[in-house]
């Protein structure tokens, strides 16, 4: 078990594309950290940098006290003592289950007796006791992923890296494995870095979640912090489907650019504050749909889609060219209904303090 530390890590690909920029991130011993972000955000790049498949071009990566990469040299993956689970399980098809799980122990030079015991032990741990001699081809997808997990744990790694490890599984199974994985890593006190594109999974599993975009860390925090107090309009939109509008804030409130949306000062959150140009993020929970009767035409939107949800319906209203995402309880509106959009609460991010990219286009991002 070990902590992880990235300091000022940057990675530029030979073609000149930026993979990572200014990554500063500490993961404590025994912590479960999830990395999320849109595709191309650098989350997999960060994980592969830690695994040793990519070498950062600047900055330092430490596992425990050991510097594993410092921009000039990089310890190869085989010397980092990691366990890693891949999206497509990556079970070696030419070996039996037992041989697969045993391989890291064999490379570590463990004697035969000890290897057999440990294989038995980890297979039991992942719920596959006694399957040592099976051909991996005869296993189901979920079983193969368990074998992959057993293999990753076999040599008592310092860290466990999960690269979309659950994404290839179907829903009910994924749910169950998610629970088991969390229980297992907690009881073993493992430090885990988990890359996923599934926001709900990241929020549900992790002690802390790191949001990446464009190779930069956007925010790191507990699931509660990320959902309650997103640092930028991007994080609010990415994690919570917030509707984002560009505009200006002054003493009286927020005025959107080329859009009838106005939000009075009292509905704006105190944090992070600031005035001037910037972006407004409205969480779906903070949008209310009111009767259109008697309201001004500029305030009325048309329901574009209305999906049933267990505790609240997921409704998209097209309001003056802007798609507003909202979660409403109570009666579900029908597509084509005219409604008035009210904003109960919103967060304003002044231009200087917000994420550099990806927040300027409200319409494009609202449904992402």
């Amino acid at each position: 078990m070990s902590s992880i530390s990235f300091s000022a890590v940057g990675l530029v690909y030979p073609g000149g594309t930026t993979g990572l920029a200014d990554i500063d991130l500490e993961v404590a011993d025994g912590e479960f950290l999830a990395l999320v972000g849109p595709s191309g955000s650098g989350k997999t790049t960060l994980l592969r940098t830690l695994a040793g498949f990519l070498a950062p071009t600047s900055g330092t990566v430490r596992i425990g006290e050991q510097v594993v990469a410092d921009g000039a040299r990089s310890t190869p993956p085989e010397h980092r003592r990691l366990g890693m689970v891949f999206q497509q399980h990556a079970i070696w098809p030419h070996w039996s289950v037992g041989r697969n799980v045993e391989y890291p122990l064999r490379l570590a030079g463990a004697p035969r007796r000890e290897r057999a015991e440990r294989v038995h032990e980890v297979l039991e741990l992942v719920g596959l006791a006694g399957l040592e001699r099976r051909d991996p081809a005869t296993l189901s997808g979920g079983q193969r992923q368990r074998v992959a997990l057993a293999r990753a744990l076999a040599a008592r790694p310092r860290l466990l890296l999960l690269d979309e490890a659950l994404s290839a599984l179907d829903e009910p199974l994924r749910d169950r494995l998610r629970l088991e994985l969390r229980a297992l890593t907690t009881s073993m006190g493992l430090t885990v870095l988990h890359v996923t594109h599934d926001r709900a999974e990241a929020l549900a599993l992790a002690d802390r979640v790191a949001v990446l975009d464009g190779g930069r860390l956007q925010q790191v925090g507990t699931p509660e912090e990320l959902v309650r107090r997103p640092w930028s309009a991007f994080v609010a939109r990415f994690l919570s489907d917030a509707t984002v509008l560009p505009g200006v804030r002054d003493g009286r409130g927020f005025t959107a650019d080329r859009h009838p949306c106005r939000v009075p000062a009292e509905a704006l959150s105190d944090e992070p504050g600031g005035t001037g140009r910037g972006s407004l993020a409205v969480l779906p929970e903070d949008v209310e749909l009111l009767s259109a009767a008697g309201s001004d035409r500029s305030e009325v939107g048309i329901v574009a889609s209305s999906l049933f949800g267990r505790d609240a319906s997921d409704v998209v209203v097209t309001w003056h060219g802007l798609d507003v995402r909202c979660r409403t309880r109570g009666p579900r509106p029908s597509v084509g209904d005219a409604v008035r959009v009210g904003v109960r609460r919103a967060v304003f991010y002044a231009e200087a303090a917000q994420a550099p990219e990806g927040v300027a286009a409200p319409v494009a991002g609202a449904l992402a």
Binding site: T44, A51, G52, F53, L54, P76, P77, E78, H79, R80, R81, L82, G83, M84, F86, Q87, Q88, H89, A90, W92, P93, H94, Y103, P104, L107, A108, A137, A148, R151, A152, A155, L161, E164
Partner: protein, 558 residues
């Protein structure tokens, strides 16, 4: 609205009755299927059947134990097996280096390494005689210094060496195709488990390549078993006789009585060996595991400090076996006689013009051009029909039809030629060039079927189902959708057939009849007659045309 609906409903045989053929009733596609089976039987199964019938009924199996045949058989078998081992070893090593490491100039190296595929083996043999024959510059210089030549390409070792040079690109292609399908995850999982790059290759990559290597081995061994060009040009001068050169001698010089029956018996033995090869391949593929698509592109393994050295060594070796022979061919073509020193004053285009304008060359070139063009068209049409039928329709006999069409690829060309020779008098084709055309179609239709099948089997059948839903009959859907999709591949395949046939020697040498000599035979005869420089000149042209033509073929989408 109602009037147009009425008009639509006034087709024949409507008014509520269920329309369409009854279950199992013939439709257009079935007709096509029957026709294809007939054609396949005629050009593939019958020639093979007659050779088996004659070979076994003639009761000449004892002949096989005679000194000549036994020795030739042993030479064939040993050279085929050794060259297959060599080709797979070289092809696999090269595939690993080029596809999985950061070797310098990998793209160019790949093209260079594949170029021997475009040079017919007999042309390669002529080129290597210029390079390592007894009268070559290297060997003469070495003899002057030490009293003996460095290495003469004549003899068994030369045959094996040249077979390796000409077949390692095939092994490379087969192995590299599998290598690209191995998910990089499997290798990365080994790295995180603590294996270094070399250990990963040994423990994970190579075992996963084993089925492909075995498959390449049988493919190469079977095709080398009866290669004619290399052993006849390089083996015979030292009395190294293989089955193909023995058969050629029997057929040309009539040293045995009833040569056709003897040759048919030898053909049966070769056929049996080929079937054995196919069986080995099938058994091996049964244990083949499904490799799932990779999530991430494989990152090339860094060779580290060895990178520069490995790059130089690989480049030098590959260039030596690909570019040097072409250079030798060029100098031979431009010099008036073998052994004349290479100086600017001695260079002449005489051999080239003489070779190109000689009447035998002109006949050979004309024959080769029209024969291969016809073969290309026939194979393209037949291959298109078979390839689409077996991939785009559902029928129980699809695997069988496909297997029959692909069968000749696993059979030495010698057997096909002998089959047509045995068949010829019975169908009135004896001593005509049509015989060669028939053999070309038998031997090369598999090329088109293969190019057509590969892209088509990746497309889901819903394409045709959509056409059916849109109102097309089964035959119409087949012609409008399946054929259209397959057409570019079939054109590429046909082009490959032309390229292969125009430079072909084995079939046309054995099926030679008066007035039907091909380009390959013309070059071969020049070489046998001692006109080395003229032979080299023509061979150079063939090699260059092959290299240029392949560029065109590669550009075609396939």
């Amino acid at each position: 609205m109602s009037s147009s609906a009425d008009a639509l409903a006034q087709g024949p045989a409507t008014s509520g009755a269920l329309r369409g053929p009854r279950r199992g009733a013939p439709d257009g596609v079935l007709g096509l299927r029957l026709a294809l089976w007939l054609v396949c039987a005629a050009v593939i199964l019958v020639p093979l059947a007659v050779i088996v019938a004659m070979g076994l009924s003639a009761d000449r199996l004892v002949l096989l134990l005679e000194g000549d045949v036994l020795e030739a058989g042993r030479n064939s078998l040993v050279s085929a097996l050794l060259s297959a081992v060599g080709a797979v070893a070289v092809g696999t090593a090269l595939a690993l280096l080029v596809e999985r490491t950061d070797l310098r100039g990998r793209g160019a190296l790949r093209l260079l390494a594949l170029s021997p595929l475009l040079v017919p083996p007999f042309v390669g043999a002529i080129a290597w005689i210029g390079l390592a024959g007894p009268a070559s510059t290297v060997n003469r210089a070495w003899s002057e210094a030490t009293g003996g030549p460095l290495w003469v390409v004549y003899g068994g070792d030369g045959v094996v060496f040249l077979l390796v040079v000409h077949s390692f690109p095939i092994a490379y292609l087969v192995v590299a195709a599998t290598l690209r399908r191995i998910p990089s995850d499997l290798e990365q999982a080994a790295r995180t488990s603590g294996a270094g790059p070399w250990r990963t290759v040994r423990d994970v990559t190579l075992p996963l390549l084993r089925p492909a290597a075995l498959s390449a081995f049988t493919l190469v061994a079977v095709s080398n078993l009866a290669d004619f060009g290399i052993p006849s040009i390089v083996g015979l001068p030292e009395g190294y006789v293989t089955l193909s050169t023995l058969v050629y001698r029997y057929l040309q010089s009539g040293t045995v009585e009833a040569p056709l029956e003897v040759v048919a018996t030898i053909g049966v033995v070769l056929l049996a060996l080929a079937v054995l090869g196919v069986l080995v391949d099938v058994l091996a593929s049964r244990s083949r595991w499904q490799l799932e698509a990779s999530a991430t592109a494989p990152a090339p393994v860094s060779l580290g400090r060895l990178r520069g050295l490995a790059s130089v060594v690989t480049w030098v070796l590959v260039a030596a076996v690909t570019l040097l022979p072409l250079w030798a061919l060029a100098t031979q073509a431009l010099l008036p006689a073998p052994g004349v020193p290479l100086t600017w004053a001695n260079l002449t285009l005489d051999s080239l013009t003489r070779a190109v304008t000689a009447p035998t060359t002109v006949t050979g070139l004309t024959n080769s051009l029209w024969l291969s063009a016809l073969a290309g068209v026939l194979c393209a049409v037949l291959g298109l029909a078979i390839g689409t039928l077996v991939t785009r329709t559902r029928s129980r006999d699809n695997p069988a039809l496909r297997a029959v069409a692909m069968l000749p690829q696993a059979i030495p060309g010698l057997v096909i030629a002998v089959g047509w020779l045995v068949l010829a008098p019975r169908v009135g084709l004896f001593n005509t060039p049509w015989l060669i055309l028939g053999a070309y179609v038998t031997a090369f239709v598999a090329l088109v079927v293969q190019t057509v099948v590969a892209p088509l089997s990746a497309t889901p059948l819903t394409a045709e189902e959509a056409a059916r839903v849109a109102g097309a009959s089964p035959l119409r859907a087949f012609l409008d959708v399946s054929w259209r999709m397959a057409l570019p591949a079939a054109v590429t395949g046909g082009f490959l057939v032309v390229l292969t046939a125009v430079r072909e020697l084995t079939l046309s040498a054995l099926l030679l009849s008066p007035g039907s000599q091909t380009l390959g035979v013309a070059i071969f005869n020049l070489q046998q007659a001692g006109a080395y420089n003229a032979a080299s000149a023509l061979a150079l042209l063939v090699a260059l045309v092959g290299l240029a033509g392949a560029r065109l073929a590669v550009r075609q989408p396939s």
